[in-house]
């Protein structure tokens, strides 16, 4: 039984069609990488999955955990175990990182019919999870992402992921703007969170991330279509040859 299934997904923004018929199936425990040049529609795909409202689905379907994902608002998707690590994590002045995370975790737990986590158990949980991405504990008390460095913001996203324990995590260019040490920390964090009940969709421009997080499948997105799918060898091939060889013959490539 697949966790996520996209069928012929078409998406427009302000009347411009960005995604032009995406088919994708993600099973529990799988790690899929979606690669593509700038403007190919990668971040649009992430946004549509997370429930951003300015994107209009003009055709196609998205099934997630036996539900019609498009019927669910953003918060319900999150409570059902879908997580988006933002390309540009948002600064929230005046709301501490832990307060925010506890509110999020409790919203998810309440949705599942579980009791809210108390302050002491939450603190223990946070202390444990903060090690996953070697995040400085001082960043927990600070307002969410405010004054964080670029690398700290990305690590904070993975820290949130670790605490909220989603079924499906979508990482939108989490590798962008990271130096190699930060990239390794993020990758180690993600690898430690892999498991049979958790799937990942890694959206990335560069194959560099995939040296550290080895995907089960690689898909190449060009001009709103998945033009080729394969295993990690495809990513290595892209690193050698760039995207051009796929752009010239999209029709053939799509059929490959």
């Amino acid at each position: 039984m697949s966790l996520l299934e996209l069928k012929n997904l078409h998406v427009s923004v302000d009347g411009n069609e960005i995604l032009k018929g995406i088919d994708l199936t993600v099973n529990p425990g799988e790690v899929h990488a979606i690669m593509g040049p700038n403007g190919s529609g990668k971040s649009t795909l992430a946004s549509v999955l997370a429930g951003r409202e300015e994107y209009e689905v003009t055709a196609g379907e998205i099934h997630y955990a036996d539900q019609d994902l498009l019927e669910l608002d953003a918060e319900t998707r999150a409570r059902e175990g879908l997580f988006l690590a933002f390309q540009y994590p948002v600064e929230i002045p005046g709301v501490s990182n832990t307060y925010f995370l506890r509110a999020a975790l409790n919203a998810i737990r309440t949705h599942r019919g579980e009791e809210e986590i108390d302050a002491i158990d939450f603190l223990a949980l946070v202390r444990e999870k903060v090690k996953v991405v070697k995040l400085d504990e001082s960043l927990l008390k600070r307002p969410v992402n405010e004054g964080f460095s670029g690398g700290e913001k990305k690590r904070n996203e993975i820290f949130h992921l670790a605490v909220l324990e989603p079924k499906l995590a979508i990482l939108d260019e989490t590798d962008s703007g990271l130096d190699i040490d930060a990239l390794k920390i993020v990758a180690d964090g993600v690898n430690s969170l892999r498991g049979p009940d958790r799937s990942f969709v890694l959206i990335t421009h560069y194959q560099r991330l995939l040296n550290y997080i080895v995907p089960d499948f690689v898909h190449v997105l060009i001009d709103g279509r998945i033009v080729r799918s394969g295993d990690r060898e495809l990513a290595l091939q892209l690193e050698d040859q760039g995207y051009e060889w796929l752009e010239v013959e999209p029709a053939q490539a799509a059929g490959a």
């Binding site: 429930g51 953003a74 005046g94 999020a104 307002p143």
Partner: protein
């Protein structure tokens, strides 16, 4: 000013009633001056620049009752800061039975104004009426004309008071539409240190309260002042606050305004000695047809002074707000450092903000900045919270509370700050609910 006699007529019975109340000579003189000035000035109209955006229609035709000495009907315990010295006033009249001043260190005076005036305090004689713009401001005049009693705080030189002093003013006693004139005089002598909490609450009527606060701060003295306006939602609150700072002194104020149909405060600060510093922060919430106005003038009259203001507003429904901020830097006030900021969050399409920060600089070596913003919550921030599982309404609530929190966290009295955080959260929830029902 022929119009004056026509639009102040509604107040004459209250003025007559107060005039006949016995009072020390000092207060009687002030009443006479106030009455004369009010008769000349009259109620302001929208034709006057300072009152262009503040409509007084609601009080113009109203006949308000004059205050009388009654015991408070409401229990002030919920408002009480537990370790504070407490003075309670009902419609401006001291209520000794529910006040708890306690033993005071030598030389410190925390009392009602009548006692201060009758005990022959030089501070009262010297400073009462010395700062309030009696001749120019109609409500400073009206307050003086109606003065019955008030609070008097005198901290002698070098004295540091640990326990805060809390003044609770209840207006509209027994649900009557009273006209009251709370009065506060604070004299902080050189090197002293004190914290004063000024609280205005209502007893369920569309009353009119026009408090006047005069604060004189001596060399190197430090005064913290928290002003909380939680009057009933049909009440009118027109306050005047005037502060004068001597060299090296510091005044820090947080004004939290959540109540009142119309709540306006006119504040004047004069930095009158080198290296004085004034920080004035404010938070106002408005919903329904509430109006919350702040008119603030900070005058740098000496070199090397610093002044900072951050006023934030959250407005929903058809609420209105005016922020008029003026920083005046005198010619010889070199090395002035002044910063003024007004930030407004609009939660509805019908809420209106008039924000008007102004600088008048006559010195040439100064650092002055000012600015104002009016906007909505950041959509991206709302989405970020929702994408982590936090519901839409809760996300808005959380972000709004965080916006307000920047001011609340500056309140130095922890117990009061925690209570205010709850009060603001409850108000914001009510605003969110009324939005949800639209």
């Amino acid at each position: 000013m022929t119009q004056a006699s026509t639009n102040t007529g509604a107040f004459s019975s209250a003025l007559d009633a107060v005039a006949s109340l016995p009072a020390p000579e000092l207060l009687q003189d002030l009443r006479a001056r106030g009455r004369e000035s009010f008769a000349t000035l009259g109620l302001p109209t929208r034709r006057q620049e300072e009152w262009r955006f503040t409509g007084l229609k609601a009080i113009e035709g109203e006949v308000f009752e004059s205050p009388s000495a009654v015991a408070p009907r409401i229990d002030v315990t919920p408002w009480r800061v537990s370790d504070a010295r407490l003075l309670v006033f009902v419609d401006g009249i001291f209520a000794p039975d529910v006040s708890e001043i306690g033993d005071l260190p030598d030389g410190v005076v925390v009392s009602n104004l009548v006692l201060g005036a009758t005990s022959g305090s030089e501070a009262v004689a010297q400073h009462l009426g010395s700062l309030a713009p009696l001749e120019e401001h109609p409500f400073a005049a009206l307050n003086s004309a109606l003065i019955a009693d008030g609070a008097f705080i005198h901290v002698p030189a070098g004295m540091e008071l640990d326990r805060p002093i809390q003044l609770v003013f209840i207006s509209g006693s027994e649900g009557r539409a009273t006209l009251s004139a709370p009065r506060i005089l604070i004299v902080a002598e050189a090197g002293s240190r004190a914290t004063v909490v000024e609280q205005h609450i209502g007893d369920g009527a569309s009353s009119l309260s026009c408090p006047v606060t005069e604060i004189v701060i001596g060399d190197k003295a430090v005064l913290n002042h928290v002003i909380v306006q939680e009057e009933n939602l049909s009440a009118h609150h027109l306050a005047v606050r005037q502060i004068k700072l001597a060299a090296g002194s510091r005044y820090s104020a947080q004004a939290i305004s959540v109540g009142g149909a119309l709540a306006r405060t006119d504040i004047g600060v004069v930095l009158d000695g080198e290296h004085a510093e004034a920080s004035l922060d404010g938070l106002y919430l408005g919903d329904g047809s509430q109006q919350a106005d702040t008119h603030l003038t900070v005058r740098h009259a000496s070199p090397n002074c610093r002044s900072f203001q951050l006023y934030k507003g959250v407005l929903a429904g058809r609420a209105k707000s005016v922020f008029n901020g003026r920083i005046i830097v005198d010619q010889d006030a070199q090395k002035t450092d002044a910063k003024q900021s007004n930030r407004n969050l609009l939660l509805s399409d019908d809420a209106v903000v008039n924000s008007n920060p102004q600088l008048e600089i006559f010195a040439d070596d100064v650092r002055c900045t000012h600015g104002s913003t009016v906007g909505q919550l950041d959509d991206e921030a709302v989405f970020y919270l929702r994408s982590r599982g936090i519901g839409h309404d809760e996300a808005i609530q959380l972000l709004t509370l965080a916006f307000a929190g920047e001011i609340l966290e500056r309140v130095p009295v922890v117990e009061l700050r925690e209570r205010l955080e709850k009060v603001v959260a409850v108000r914001l929830t009510a605003i969110a609910d009324s939005r949800g029902n639209e």
